[in-house]
């Protein structure tokens, strides 16, 4: 019973702390149109804060991130495309600023390796299964029926 009350208190506290998340948002920038707001939000979420390095620009409370968001806002307001903004940032901070690395010769292995490894695993698994199946079929004296299923 007391344990239940404790849990309830924690849930209530969490609800209070997390309830109005907008009020705690790092970035309160308002763009003039919904379309610009969506693009601004997408860009600040896909670009890395270079000071914290594992946070997106949108989530980082440091001054540099705020300044970089300001650059993005001004570029969008000036009519620049998303590609322009990405090119500007990559030109200064390198590919590292992109949370999703672009596909090029240097990053090809990064994108292709997981698929290749999965394929390799599938081939190995298929070979093992086929060999074991052949072994079972060729067994003249199965130990028991259940072992076969």
């Amino acid at each position: 019973m007391r344990r239940g009350a404790g849990t309830l208190a924690i849930v209530a506290l969490a609800a209070v702390l997390l309830g109005d998340r907008a009020a705690y948002a790092v970035d309160t920038t308002q763009m003039p149109t919904a379309e610009l707001q969506a693009r601004y939000s997408a860009l600040t979420h896909e670009l890395r804060c270079m000071q914290c390095q594992n946070e997106a620009l949108a989530d980082s409370p440091v001054q540099l991130a705020a300044d970089m968001r300001g650059v993005i806002r001004d570029m969008l307001l000036a009519g620049k495309t998303d590609a322009d903004v990405r090119a500007y940032m990559v030109g200064r901070y390198g590919d590292f600023i992109l949370f999703r690395p672009r596909f090029n010769l240097r990053t090809a292995w990064l994108w292709l390796a997981p698929g290749a490894l999965l394929l390799l695993g599938a081939v190995v698994a298929a070979r093992v299964v086929r060999r074991r199946t052949a072994l079972l079929a060729g067994d003249p004296d199965p130990v028991d029926e259940e072992g076969r299923s």
Binding site: M50, Q51, Q63, L64, D67, M68, G70, V71, V90, G91, R92, Y93, G94, F96
Partner: protein
């Protein structure tokens, strides 16, 4: 025999991949600047020493210079300062300071108290110039050649070791080839 050969080969491959990764890993936490080999970003900012004047990237055309990004809020900059004064005394090239996101009067006090190693200091209140140069943490220094090309970047404090190993050889090499 082949039962062990395949896993062993796979393990050897893994070792090779990881060894290459460790060998090629950049210095801890340092991100290579894509500006190396490219024209230095343009700027025009107020002069800390004389607010009526402006400092522009064009002022240094045809000259080597070391652009140093600093701020009075930056601990590492205080550690670096003695080396900057040494660079000034060596009189090999001018130091151009970018006072990044700082208070002007505090910056002036800093230079009065610790000594002023800079030929000129430009004030970057908005932080836009620093972003243009791809700065992510002060201090950072950029070596720019007479053609206005960024030749080298120092992330973190400029030390005597970096100066003699990475900067001086580039300067002399540049002069020999007449650039």
């Amino acid at each position: 025999m082949s039962r062990f050969l395949v896993p062993l080969a796979a393990f050897a491959l893994l070792v090779v991949v990881l060894a290459i990764g460790i060998r090629h890993a950049p210095e801890k936490g340092v991100i290579a600047s894509p500006l190396i080999g490219k024209p230095a970003p343009q700027f025009s900012l107020p002069d800390l020493g004389n607010s009526a004047r402006r400092v522009s990237s064009g002022d240094f055309k045809g000259k080597w210079y070391l652009l140093n990004v600093w701020g009075t809020w930056c601990y590492e900059c205080r550690a670096e300062h003695a080396m900057l004064l040494e660079v000034q005394r060596a009189a090999v090239l001018p130091l151009v300071g970018i006072d990044w996101k700082d208070d002007d009067s505090e910056a002036r006090t800093w230079l009065t108290q610790l000594g002023n190693p800079y030929a000129v200091v430009a004030v970057d209140h908005s932080g836009r110039t620093a972003i243009d140069w791809g700065v992510y943490a002060a201090p950072e220094s950029f070596l720019v050649d007479p053609r206005g090309i960024v030749v080298y970047k120092v992330t973190g404090a400029l030390t005597r070791e970096v100066w003699t190993r990475d900067i001086l050889p580039r300067l002399t090499a540049g002069r020999v080839t007449g650039s």
